[in-house]
């Protein structure tokens, strides 16, 4: 019996060692990516990447997600595309003329071909744009075209599609009429919803268009040469592309990998050249020479419902906005290149006619300051005649949102005496619903830009705007936004100043409590060069990428 027992314990010991090995994972080996050094990087122009999901769509009028947009930006091309500096550079367009009032653009198209040999014509644009706005298409990004004359009317079914302000003068000339002379129209054209589609081909394919690699035609730097659903897809250089001499990569292999740890393991075994990291991997790799971070112009903030008696009080809002340590939040919880934000319009997103970044104009507003926050809070409590306040924070079920929710609760309850925060965690869709019905008190929210202009952030909070959802209304702010969208379009500096002023009003009244600007961390092999990350629209361009 003794012997049996000892064997039993020996087995237990083995088992505990197996289990302990799970824990050992993190602690024992800080030796990432040394293997990479010994292997000579292939000079072959093949890039191996991972993608986080199957491509949801190849139909430019229907796509809504970053995976689709990323593929589209590399296999299709609009009139313009974003260059290495994120400025619009001619794509299918060769040149353009604009009328004096800035409302009529006439584009001259270059000699470019679809991958089936058909020429890209002005009609391809007319067809695709009408399709996107046709209410029967149900395009979720149709609104991004609303600056075109009659676009909104077409999309809401008030006028027929042929009334849309876009026409093909001849095969190579496209005329676009705008509702307002917006200054950012060219960069808007780089967005996939504005890409062309070949009418004849799309109609031939019918329901199958965009569903397979060989039921789609391409006009971009690459073609989709292979698509194994849910598994992998492959881009090959498009020899027919008008600027094929610039494109150096021959092949880009994408494998679909949803698990971050798996991605890291694939990177370690040289199966992937670039891989995104989540917070738990950042510590392990932050000293690696291939570790990189980027900051995106996506702002996360706390929305405050002013239908709530407490949050209607400006001092209470200021107290909340200044009452939590944003630097600690980005350093300890996110830890991935995210930046503490004391603003609405993100840093490094837009420059004004004076060449200054938007952030240089207004600087930091609502910076963390525990003492100031407490003062505002005491003031608010006095005005409200309350000693104890309970607020509910509407949150959703993503990993980082959960952690940040906990952090906010702890910080605000510590810094603002008498405040209790209850966290209400909901599925993301439910959170959106509750916000739009204004059934929340505080809510964890984010916003990314739709086009390269500060207006994409500034006009969020106009009175009764669809995205306002705070109940805030300010006549001066409304007027500034309206002017910037209409009368000031002829004076871009004045327009810029108006937007700067609008942001100041918004944050002086602490309508929102800015938290952070999103960042992301990734590993990229040293032989990978020239992948361009775009801060808005599609995330990446591989047109200029190469292997060294």
């Amino acid at each position: 019996m003794k012997k049996k027992l000892s064997i039993f314990f020996a087995l237990l010991l083995v088992a505990s060692m197996v289990l302990a090995a799970c824990g050992g994972n993190n602690a024992e080996e800080p030796k990432p990516s040394d293997e990479g050094k010994q292997e000579t990087p292939a000079k072959e122009q093949v890039l191996n990447l991972l993608e986080s999901s199957e491509i949801p769509s190849l139909d430019t009028t229907l796509a809504t997600d970053s995976v689709s947009f990323r593929v589209m930006n590399n296999v299709f091309e609009g009139l313009y595309r974003l260059d290495q500096n994120n400025e619009p550079t001619p794509g299918m367009a060769e040149s353009y003329e604009v009328s004096e009032d800035g409302k009529v653009y006439t584009f001259k198209l270059r000699d470019a071909k679809w991958s089936n040999g058909e020429p890209v014509t002005a009609n391809d644009f007319v067809f695709a744009w009408r399709k996107a706005l046709d209410p029967n298409t149900g395009a979720e990004y149709a609104y991004i075209m609303y600056d075109i004359k009659n676009a909104e009317e077409v999309n809401t079914g008030k006028v027929p599609v042929d009334q849309l302000g876009v026409k093909a003068i001849d095969e190579k000339t496209l005329q676009v009429e705008l509702k307002n002379p917006i200054p950012y129209f060219l960069s808007l054209l780089a967005f996939p919803t504005f890409y062309p589609q070949n009418e004849k081909y799309v109609k031939e394919q019918g329901d199958k268009y965009g569903l397979e690699a060989n039921t789609t035609i391409y006009n971009g730097p690459f073609v989709l040469s292979e698509w194994k659903h849910e598994q992998s897809f492959q881009l090959k250089k498009n020899e027919q592309y008008w600027d094929a001499q610039t494109v150096k990569l021959e092949t880009i292999n994408f494998n679909i990998v949803k698990d971050v740890a798996t991605g890291v393991n694939l990177y370690e075994t040289n199966k992937a050249d670039r891989v995104g990291l989540s917070a738990e991997f950042v510590d392990k790799y932050s000293s690696d020479k291939n570790f990189k971070t980027k900051t995106e112009p996506v702002l996360f903030y706390i929305r405050m419902n002013q239908k709530n008696e407490v949050l209607k009080n400006v001092n209470a809002r200021k107290a909340i906005a200044m009452g939590f340590d944003k630097e600690a939040m980005v350093a300890t919880i996110l830890n991935n290149g995210s930046k503490a934000a004391n603003y609405l319009v993100p840093e490094g997103f837009v420059k004004g006619p004076n060449g200054k970044d938007f952030r240089e104009e207004n600087g930091d507003l609502l910076t963390f300051n525990a003492e100031e926050a407490k003062k505002y809070w005491e003031q608010a409590k006095k005005e409200l005649g309350k000693d104890k306040v309970t607020l509910e924070l509407l949150n959703y079920d993503s990993e980082s949102a959960k952690k940040i929710g906990e952090f906010l609760k702890e910080q605000l309850e510590t810094n603002l005496p008498g405040l209790t925060i209850n966290i209400k965690q909901q599925p993301f869709k439910q959170k959106l619903d509750l916000e739009s019905k204004m059934q929340y008190e505080l809510s964890f929210t984010g916003w990314g830009p739709d086009y390269k202009d500060a207006m994409t952030f500034i006009d969020l909070f106009v009175t009764n705007g669809a995205h306002n959802q705070t109940g805030w209304s300010n006549a001066e702010y409304d007027k500034l936004v309206k002017d910037a969208k209409t009368t000031l379009l002829s004076d871009l500096q004045a327009r810029w100043d108006a937007m700067v002023k609008a942001e100041k009003i918004l944050l002086d009244e602490a309508v929102i409590a800015p938290m952070y600007q999103r960042g992301s961390a990734y590993l990229e092999r040293e032989y990978v060069k020239g992948i361009v990350d775009h801060p808005f629209g599609p995330d990446n361009s591989y047109k200029w990428a190469y292997i060294e």
Partner: protein, 309 residues
């Protein structure tokens, strides 16, 4: 037998109909809309798009329309994968899931039975304890931990097998192992218990008395009777395994069906929720039917009710 089968078939269709109906109405209680870009759209814009998909109609109208299409075999098109038919979506993904599930099931069953039998025969010895410890570990270690460990040590450290992807048999080995751990453990436990009971029964004693070899007794007389509860758990387990497992498929980047169900619920992709539910239920009901038939084949004492009339 034919009448019984027909009867069962009708019950199966009714069950499926009830499941489809319940799922449809429960699904409509999910908050939010199926729009992917919901946070950027104003209520009016959302309405325009939902109109196109007939989602502004009253739920009963949508239900009747859905059933009409279902009868015609049309499961609709996905919202998240624009315009892709749900049947194709399932068809593209079921292959790898089914292959992995099948491999794990076969491997796991064989190893599990062997382990269980050995434990029962060597009852109360170190071998038995070892097998029991293994079984307990197999049931209690989550498959993602085991999968992660396999991937890290065998794939990254030892470089014996590919870390992930789906490109031939060698790519299926680690996910199969990870999946089969639970199968091995469950079956070994059942097998041990059943075998012990069977080996202690009178007819085994008779068989031994007749002078049949130990091996023959165990495999010919013992195993067959001990298999009955195994068949019971094997059916549902097969369905579970072969329709894909979220975690293992994610860890090893297997292009399977596992994630679709959860994902479609999160995204309110109604046609995919319905399609995967119906597919899963149909398979489940069918397997239960097969298990019932198998009972009769394995154990003559169990005969299908109604068959003799």
């Amino acid at each position: 037998m034919a009448r019984y089968t027909l009867q069962r078939l009708i019950y199966m269709i009714i069950t499926l109909f009830i499941i489809a109906t319940a799922t449809f109405f429960l699904m409509k209680l999910l908050p939010g809309s199926p729009l992917q870009n919901q946070e950027k759209l104003s209520p009016e814009q959302q309405k325009i798009i939902l109109e196109k998909y007939g989602l502004n109609d009253p739920v009963p109208v949508q239900y009747v329309r859905y059933l009409g299409n279902l009868v015609k075999g049309d499961l609709g098109v996905s919202f998240q994968y624009d315009n892709r038919p749900v049947t194709q979506l399932i068809g593209d993904r079921i292959g790898p899931s089914a292959q992995l599930g099948f491999q794990a099931l076969v491997f796991g069953t064989i190893v599990g039975i062997l382990l269980g039998v050995i434990a029962a025969v060597r009852h109360n010895t170190a071998v038995d304890y070892g097998a029991t410890v293994l079984a307990v570990l197999g049931i209690s270690i989550p498959s993602f931990v085991f999968g992660g460990l396999l991937q890290y040590y065998i794939g990254v450290k030892l470089k014996l097998l590919p870390v992930a992807f789906w490109d031939g048999f060698e790519y299926t080995i680690m996910p199969t192992l990870a999946l089969s751990v639970f199968v091995i453990a469950s079956i070994a436990r059942f097998m041990r218990t059943e075998m012990l009971e069977v080996l202690g029964s009178d007819y085994i004693l008779t068989a031994r008395a007749k002078g049949i070899s130990g091996f023959g007794v165990i495999f010919k007389h013992g195993l067959r009777n001990a298999m009955i509860p195994i068949i019971t758990i094997l059916g549902p387990m097969a369905v579970n395994l072969m329709t894909g497992t979220l975690v293992i498929e994610q860890i090893f980047a297997v292009p399977g069906l596992g994630e679709q169900f959860v994902r479609s619920i999160n995204l309110n992709d109604y046609p995919v929720i319905m399609g995967t539910t119906i597919f899963y239920s149909a398979l489940f009901i069918f397997v239960i039917f097969i298990v019932d038939v198998l009972y009769g084949l394995i154990d003559p004492r169990i005969r299908l009710a109604g068959g003799k009339k």
